[in-house]
């Protein structure tokens, strides 16, 4: 398991590219999770029993779809989504294309986390808002989201970390990224140096994100 410094220098540009690809994939799929998963999570919560948009049918259908997406192995999901990927990105390879399936995996994952976070809000505060005559929209914007924000930040952290893990599989469609670099060099090419370097980078990345998430969640919480 010799580690050669020369090899690291040699492959440094490759590592940089991979790092950038990881950022692209995570950036895109995280955005998708935020833009679509957040409202989906809110919908899941407010259509639940006893809440202001209670709608059992809608709630179960959404819940079921989310569970289905979460049951499908990522690689199968990736293949099943190729037509969608082509339609959206006009290509099926590269980090942008990989982001489509990552997004589809991240959206329901994050939606569930948002739902769980919202569930922690004190029912009393929601009631107080209803009693004051607030509209559902105001309750979502001014009560649910602010009250759950620290917990949602933690959810974002968890989503990013899971995306880093998933993005390692994006190599199947040439998505690249640090995880894929580890697999291509470490696994397929038996290059221990690169494997160790990339794994270290991954570990540092994950720890950094975790710490940043913890810090932010604590900093913005006014409790």
């Amino acid at each position: 398991m010799g580690i050669e410094v020369g090899r690291i220098i040699e492959l440094w540009p490759e590592i940089q590219t991979a790092f950038f690809q990881t950022l692209v994939m995570i950036g895109i799929s995280l955005s998708a999770a935020l833009i679509l998963g957040l409202p989906l999570g809110i919908l899941l919560f407010v259509t639940d029993k006893g809440l202001f948009w209670e709608n059992k049918a809608f709630n179960s259908v959404i819940g079921f779809i989310i569970n289905i997406v979460r049951s499908i192995p990522y690689i199968i999901l990736l293949v099943a989504l190729i037509p969608l990927t082509l339609a959206i990105t006009n290509t099926t390879i590269g980090p942008i294309a990989a982001s489509v399936s990552l997004s589809v995996a991240a959206i329901p994952f994050f939606a569930r986390l948002v739902e769980t976070s919202l569930r922690e809000t004190d029912k009393g505060v929601i009631e107080a808002a209803i009693a004051v005559g607030a509209t559902p929209w105001m309750i979502i914007i001014d009560v649910l989201l602010p009250e759950a924000k620290a917990s949602i930040i933690q959810g974002i952290t968890l989503t990013i970390i899971s995306l880093i893990a998933y993005s390692a599989m994006a190599g199947v469609v040439g998505g690249g990224g640090i995880g894929d670099l580890a697999i291509r060099f470490g696994y397929y090419r038996y290059d221990n140096t690169i494997m160790v370097v990339t794994v270290v980078i991954l570990i540092i990345l994950v720890q950094l994100i975790q710490q940043l998430g913890d810090y932010t969640a604590k900093a913005i919480d006014k409790r």
Binding site: V125, A131, V132, G133
Partner: protein, 337 residues
Amino acid sequence: MIQIQNLTKTYMTKRGAVTGVDNVTMDIKKGEIFGIVGYSGAGKSSLIRCINLLERPTSGNIIVDGKDLTSLKGGELRKARLKIGMIFQHFSLISQKTVYNNIAFALRAAGMNARDIDVRVSELLEMVGLAEKRNVYPAQLSGGQKQRVGIARALANNPDVLLCDEATSALDPNTTLSILHLLKDINRKLNITIVLITHEMNVVKEICDRMAIMQGGVVIEEGQVYDIFADPQQELTKEFISSVVSFNVPEQILSETEGLLVKLLFKGAMAGEGVVSDMLQKYQIKGNFLHGSIEYIQERPLGIFIMELKGEKATIAEALKYLESRATLVEVVGNGN
């Protein structure tokens, strides 16, 4: 102001139907402070939460200011709620918003613009004595201060009715007192109707005009607070009142008394205005107060004493007659040893 007509609220649970409120009819008048007491599970919260339709009644009507709330939906109901403030036991403030924004939230719900909100919030903060806590988050406030924010929020849209569900149960006695005075003040200044749930009779005694006692979803007694304290009808009511006006003379003391034990009750303007002193001067008997209190309920005194009377039997009998002619109630409770 608030007509509650044949209100019934039944909860459907897995173990079957649970009755919260059972066919209650009540009429709460404009500008009064109406207290509802009862043990846990009596249905007090269910009742008050039906008033602003936080809980939809199973049957019956709620008419506030002539409008039948049970017939309203969506936007109309929200509009009606602007005129019904509510304060909660656990304050229920938005923990992530400042005091200012917690109150501003209620005003935005009424569609007020930013400038007017600013003026109104300042006014409200002044009113509840929290002007300098404007930009502070709830976590940095004491319980009493949190409740003041709750009150300011409830009053934000100049409601006609204020509902309080155990608004002081989470507070210590001194803070409770200051909150009660604030409520009384508001009631007087703004002529707001207040419905107040509690299980502490002290609270009722302190500020309510009328009261109802609930048990098992039913109102078992209702009337002027003073009258109910002076002359409770139901066993449960007596039990509640005894926590404020209690007259259990310790065994040991009783065993040491020699004279006649009488319980005297004076109702009205000045409790027992000179009656006892007149009696003592008129008749040559010795009087000893074993127990007694004069409580001011609604600022009217209600005096209850247990006296030991010693002296000639005949004189005592005469003295008793005299007392009976002037006190509201004279009752011989023991005969000494």
